[in-house]
C-alpha cells in the first residue's frame, strides 16, 4: 500500500462518521473534534499516513483555501513592511521613532506568513488538511456573496433611504437569501423590528439614525 493510498484511506475513515448522520453516537463523537483544533483523536487518525517520509499529501484542488489565505497574509506582511518605510522618522532626535514598531510588526508578519505558506503548500498539517476538506465540502459561495452584496448596498442606502426603510428591506432579503420562502412574513417582521429599533434609538435614547430623504409623518 503506497503512502498515497494510506493517506486516502485514513482520510476516508476520519471523514465517514460525519457523513453518517443516521448514527447519532458516532456523529456526536466527531462533532466536538471538528471544533477543537487540538483534539488528539483526529490527530491520531490522520497522523500515521502523513508521517510518511516526505510529510506531504498529494495535491488536491480543494485545498486552495489555506494556500490563498497564507499568501494573502504574506502579501499583507510585505505591504506593512513596505509602507513602514514611507513613515517619516520625524525631525526630533529620538531613540525610537514612529517607524521602529511597524518594522518589527512587518517583519514578524512576513516571517509567520512565510512559514504558513510553506505549511499550506506542503500540506504538512493534517488537521488543517482535514478542516479544509470539510469546509470545501460544506461551503456554498452564492449566499456568502449575496450577503456581502446586500451589506454593501445597505451601507450606501442608509443615508439617502433612511434607517428603518433600508433595515426592513435588508432583513427580508437576508432571510430570503438564506432560504426562507415566506417573504411576506419576513418583510413584516423586518419592518416591525426596524421601526422598533428606530424609535428606541432615535427618539428615546437620542442616538441619531438617518431618517431618509423622503421624511414620513414621523
Amino acid at each position: 500500500m503506497s503512502a498515497y493510498d494510506e493517506t486516502v484511506s485514513a482520510r476516508e475513515e476520519a471523514r465517514s462518521p460525519r457523513d453518517d448522520a443516521a448514527n447519532p453516537a458516532r456523529n456526536d463523537a466527531a462533532n466536538p473534534a471538528r471544533n477543537d483544533a487540538a483534539n488528539p483523536a483526529r490527530d491520531g487518525a490522520a497522523n500515521p499516513a502523513n508521517d510518511a517520509p516526505d510529510g506531504a499529501v498529494p495535491p488536491d484542488e480543494r485545498l486552495w483555501g489555506p494556500r490563498i489565505a497564507a499568501l494573502l497574509f504574506l502579501a499583507a506582511g510585505v505591504a506593512v513592511l513596505g509602507w513602514a518605510f514611507a513613515i517619516p522618522e520625524g525631525a526630533i532626535e529620538q531613540d525610537v521613532g514612529p517607524r521602529a514598531f511597524p518594522l518589527l510588526v512587518g517583519v514578524g508578519l512576513c516571517v509567520a506568513a512565510s512559514v504558513a505558506v510553506v505549511q499550506a503548500f506542503r500540506g504538512s498539517d493534517p488537521a488543517l488538511t482535514e478542516q479544509a476538506r470539510e469546509e470545501a465540502r460544506l461551503t456554498e459561495w452564492r449566499p456568502v456573496a449575496a450577503l456581502l452584496a446586500l451589506l454593501v448596498c445597505y451601507l450606501f442606502a442608509l443615508a439617502p433611504c433612511g434607517y428603518w426603510q433600508s433595515t426592513a428591506v435588508l432583513f427580508a432579503l437576508v432571510a430570503r437569501v438564506l432560504g426562507s420562502r415566506r417573504t411576506l412574513r419576513d418583510a413584516l417582521i423586518g419592518l416591525v423590528l426596524a421601526l422598533a429599533v428606530y424609535f428606541l434609538f432615535d427618539r428615546l435614547l437620542g442616538i441619531h439614525l438617518p431618517p431618509g430623504i423622503v421624511r414620513l409623518a414621523f
Binding site: P48, D95, A116, L138, L148, L151
Partner: protein
Amino acid sequence: MDVLNDLMGGFGSAFSPLHLLLAFAGCTLGSLVGVLPGLGPATTVALLLPLTFVFDPTGALVLFAGIYYGGMYGGSTTAILLNVPGETASVPTTLEGHPMARSGRAGAALATAAIGSFVAGTISTVGITFAGPAMARIAEKIQPAEYFAVMVLAFATVTAVVAEAPARGLCSLFLGLAIGLVGIDSLTGQARYTFGVPELYDGVQIVAVAVGLFAIGEALYTAARLRRAPEERMLPVGGRIGMGPEDWRRSWKPWLRGTAIGLPIGALPAGGAEIPTFLSYNVEKRLSRHKKEFGKGAIEGVAGPEAANNAAFSGVLMPLLTLGIPTSATAGVLLIAFQMYNVQPGPQLFETQSALVWTLIASLYIGNVMLLVLNLPLIPLWVKLLRLPRPLLTAGILVFAALGVYALSQNAVDLGIAVLFGLLGFGMRRTGYPVAPLILGAVLGPMAETQFRRAMAFSEGDWTVFFTRPLSAAILCLSLIALAGPMAARALRRTRAREPNPAG
C-alpha cells in the same frame, strides 16, 4: 479593612435601582444572545457593545458584567443541548453535557453547570476583591521593559492556545498588531497607514473590527453552510431543571477543584480559559469513581470544566483591571468597552476610578446571584428562542451588528470596515486561522508600542534592554516556552508514536 469599606461602597452604588436594572438587563441579554448557536461570549459582548454608550461609564460596565457572565452561561446551554461549543473553552462541556442531555438528563447538566458557575464565579470574585488591589500595587512598580515583556507573554499564550498551528496564530496576531498601528502616532503626530483617509486618522474603529470579525463573520459562516451542513438538532430539556442528591454529591468536589484550577490560571497575565477547562476535565476523569461514564455523560465532566471556565473568566478580570492586559478574546472586547469611556484599566485604575471599579466588582457578585435565580428557571424560554428559523436569526444578528457599528459614529465608513472584517473573519475561520490573537493584537498593540518605546527611551536606544533586565528576560523566556513548548511536545509525541512501528 479598606477593602471591605470600598466593597461596601461599591455595593451601595450597585444596589441603586438603575444599576440593579442594568445588571438584570445585562444577564438577560447576555444569556439571550449567548444561547444562539455559534455566538460565544466574545461575540455576544461585541454585539452588545454599542448598547452601552447610552449610559454613564459605571452603568455601562455594570451592564457589561451581566452580559459577560450571561454570555458565558448561554454558551454552556448551547454546548449541552446543541453540542455546539461557543468557544474552545466549552468543548469539555459538550463532551459530557451533550451525552447527558441525550439520555434525558439535560436538566441535571444545565443545573450543575449553572450552580457550578455560580460557586466558581462567587469564589473568584472574592479572590479579585482581595487580591486585585494588592496586584495593582505591585503593578504600579512595573517598569516599561517588564510591562512590554508581560504583554508579549500574553500574546504568546493566547497564540499558543491554538498549539496545532503557531504559525497561523502568529499571522493573526501580527495582522492585529498592524491594524492597531493605523492612525496618528501619539508621540510624534506622524500619520501611519492612513492612506490619506481622514476617517483613519483616529485609527481603525476597534468596535467595527470586533463586530465584523465575530458577528458578521459568524453570519457569513452560517450562510455558507446553512444548506449543506447537517442541521444541529436541539435536544428538549425534558423534565425539571435541577439535580438529585446523587448529582449534588458528585458535583460539589468538581466545582471546587474546577475553581481551584481556573482562578489562578485565569488570574495570571497569561491565562485564558481554555487551558483550565481542559485541565479540569482531565483531572475529573482521572479522579472519578465513574470512569466508565466519561464520554457517555458523566456529571463530573460538566461540573468541573464549567466551574473552571467561570473561575478563569472571573480570574481574567484581574490582569485586565490591574494591568490593562486582556488574556482572552472576550476580555479584549471588554477592554474596548472600557476604552470607549476613556477608562484605561491599569495599575492606577483602583485609585483614579475607585468608585467605578468597586461598583463593577460588587455587580459581579450581584450578577452571579441573578444568573442563578433568573436563568435556571428561564432556560426553557431561551431554548424556545433556538427554534426560530435560522435565516431569521441570522438576519437579526446582521441587523444588530450593523446598527451597533453605525450608531457608534453615524458613519458608513465604519460599517464598511466592519463588513470587510466580516469577510476576513469568515476567511480566517474557514482556513484555520484563529481570530482571538488578531483582536488582542489590535487592542493591545498601541499599549505595547508605548511601553516598548518608553523602555527604549530609558535605555537610550539600547535594544538589549529587554534581555539584560532579569525579570523582563525571564518573562520573555517564558513567552518563548509558551510558544515553542507545544510544538516540541508534538514533535516528541510523533517520534514516540513512530518508534514501536517503524515505517509501516
